[in-house]
Symmetry: C2
Subunit: 328 residues, 2 copies
């Protein structure tokens, strides 16, 4: 028996997508089938310790659905925003997570809570790897992944490999599309994220509402029991024909189209995969709009890349995080 | 004797850099030493046929200085703007060359005139390859080359290899830095090249001069016997403290800094090499200014890349073109 394969549960892997709004966890089988999933809101108070506790609770929920305890998983991968040191197991500069100042030893703390090994990866990169291996990127050698969510992240797959540069490549959200333009959540000006990141869009919506402009956005937010304009709130406001929501989304699409077109002019790859909460919620019709917004800026418009929404949907980030764990 | 090495001259390679303003030719030895060089203005009339004749004359001049006939060279490489089909030996979409509409079989025509094989390559890519092998890129695994000249081109070296994408990667000059901004020579708006390409800068200078603004630029142009604002004219005008020239160069530096910073945010490579006629003429002080203009837009300013002017100077393009020819 000691020489047989690892018993049952150790072939299961956990994955957590840590977002600015929500924590999404999955448990996947050896063949990458999702056998359990759970979701909780990202805590707004309590800083990294509170976030770590929420991660532990969410993966425990997912594991329970899969019929196992978290400690019997082969491991848990976490896709996190910010700057990741995978070897040290730390997360720093996670500006989209409230109260996350300095460097925090997330891998060690979470591992202690759930009783199994934890591996960290960049949120956008792990989502991208999942799309590359299991989703819209399958069979493609090169593409740009764009994560349209609280912020705007990106990742580059060049000739079948994730391009990391010196470790921080992919910040397509901080492509400057309007010099001296709108203030960005990163502290600079005119970045794609200043127009298209959900956090920045919410700030703009609030300003405009405070000035008396009409919108259903904040009514819907309360109705949904949220304290932020989530992707679901934006989608519903668009469905209801809200003019301000439509205007802000159009502005976001325009900025994304401009920034992505510049990246295509630079890299000349044949595909763009739209990921992230807003991208997935708004789906292919908006991916098509981004493609249309790219067209006027493409150096070779006759060779426009395909623009596709991520095939793994909402779970891509968590599934990609699970792939950080070597299967038992 | 028939089985001995090719005699003498066949170890020499020719290289031609075809620019919007001038044709630069070199003959290099087996060890890449320049043994002959010559330069002629790019003909403004007569289209591709006239340009081809000028290429033949210029390489013949360089070969004569090296003491050989062009037909005894192992081959001649040409670095050309536009879209290159190296296999077919054709150049198309060369918007910076006057009268170059449609596709032209440059390799075959030039080969017929000079009596040796001709290989084509993209002007910016060959300059970059020369810098990579022999110049400022030596020992670097990854960098962005930016050719600041009549237009603004670029090329990417990623992990020791030139990244071509689907064949046209590197168009950093068509990064959009101001949405709906200045008209670009490519027909679009707000590209880096609309502010920093010498052709676009000259159009702006003319408009401002026509409106009565003072400048020495056009007086210097005549004095130099030129019919365009060459890099030398710009450099002299700066030396003379011309306010308009300084303003337009500052604007160019600002646009370059913004576009290159966005590319660094995306690719996270550790070095930028400034090439091209203006870049090389203005030299390291202006490369330093570009670095300063990048700083406010860098996502990780604490890891700003080195910004260096090309080490091979004016001859990098022609030397790189010669490297297209397999040594005998």
């Amino acid at each position: 028996m000691a020489t047989g394969p690892a018993r049952g549960n150790h072939t299961l892997r956990g994955g957590i997508d840590l977002g600015g709004t929500k924590v999404q966890a999955v448990v996947i089988s050896r063949t990458c089938r999702v056998v359990g999933e759970a979701r909780r809101p990202t805590p707004l108070d309590g800083g990294p310790e509170a976030v770590t506790a929420a991660l532990a609770d969410t993966i425990s929920d997912a594991a329970a659905i899969a019929g196992v305890a978290p400690r019997s998983l082969a491991g848990v991968g976490v896709g996190s925003p910010g700057s990741i040191d995978a070897t040290a197991g730390t997360v720093s500069q996670a500006g989209n997570l409230p109260g996350w100042d300095g460097s925090f030893p997330l891998a060690e703390r979470l591992s202690r809570l759930i009783g199994c090994p934890v591996r960290l990866g960049n949120d956008v990169q792990v989502a991208n790897r999942a799309e590359m291996r299991l989703g819209a990127g399958r069979g493609r050698r090169s593409f740009i992944g764009v994560a349209w969510g609280t912020g705007v992240g990106g990742s580059l797959v060049l000739d079948g490999r994730l391009w990391l540069g010196r470790g921080a490549a992919g910040e397509i959200g901080h492509t400057v599309v309007v010099r001296d333009g709108a203030a960005c959540t990163c502290g600079r000006r005119g970045c794609v994220e200043a127009y298209a990141g959900r956090a920045a869009m919410e700030l703009t919506a609030r300003k405009r509402a405070d000035r008396g402009e009409k919108t259903v956005l904040f009514r819907l937010m309360k109705q949904f029991g949220r304290d932020r304009l989530t992707s679901g709130v934006w989608a519903r406001a668009l469905d209801e024909g809200d003019a301000m929501a439509q205007d802000l989304i159009d502005r976001a699409v325009g900025a994304l189209g401009t920034g992505i077109a510049s990246a295509i002019n630079l890299l000349d790859v044949g595909a763009v995969i739209i990921e992230g909460g807003l991208g997935i919620r708004l789906g292919q019709p908006y991916a098509d709009q981004i493609a249309a917004a790219m067209a006027p800026h493409l150096f070779l418009p006759e060779r426009a890349p395909e623009v596709q929404v991520a095939a793994l949907g909402d779970l891509g980030g968590a599934i990609g995080a699970a792939l950080l764990v070597g299967a038992a």
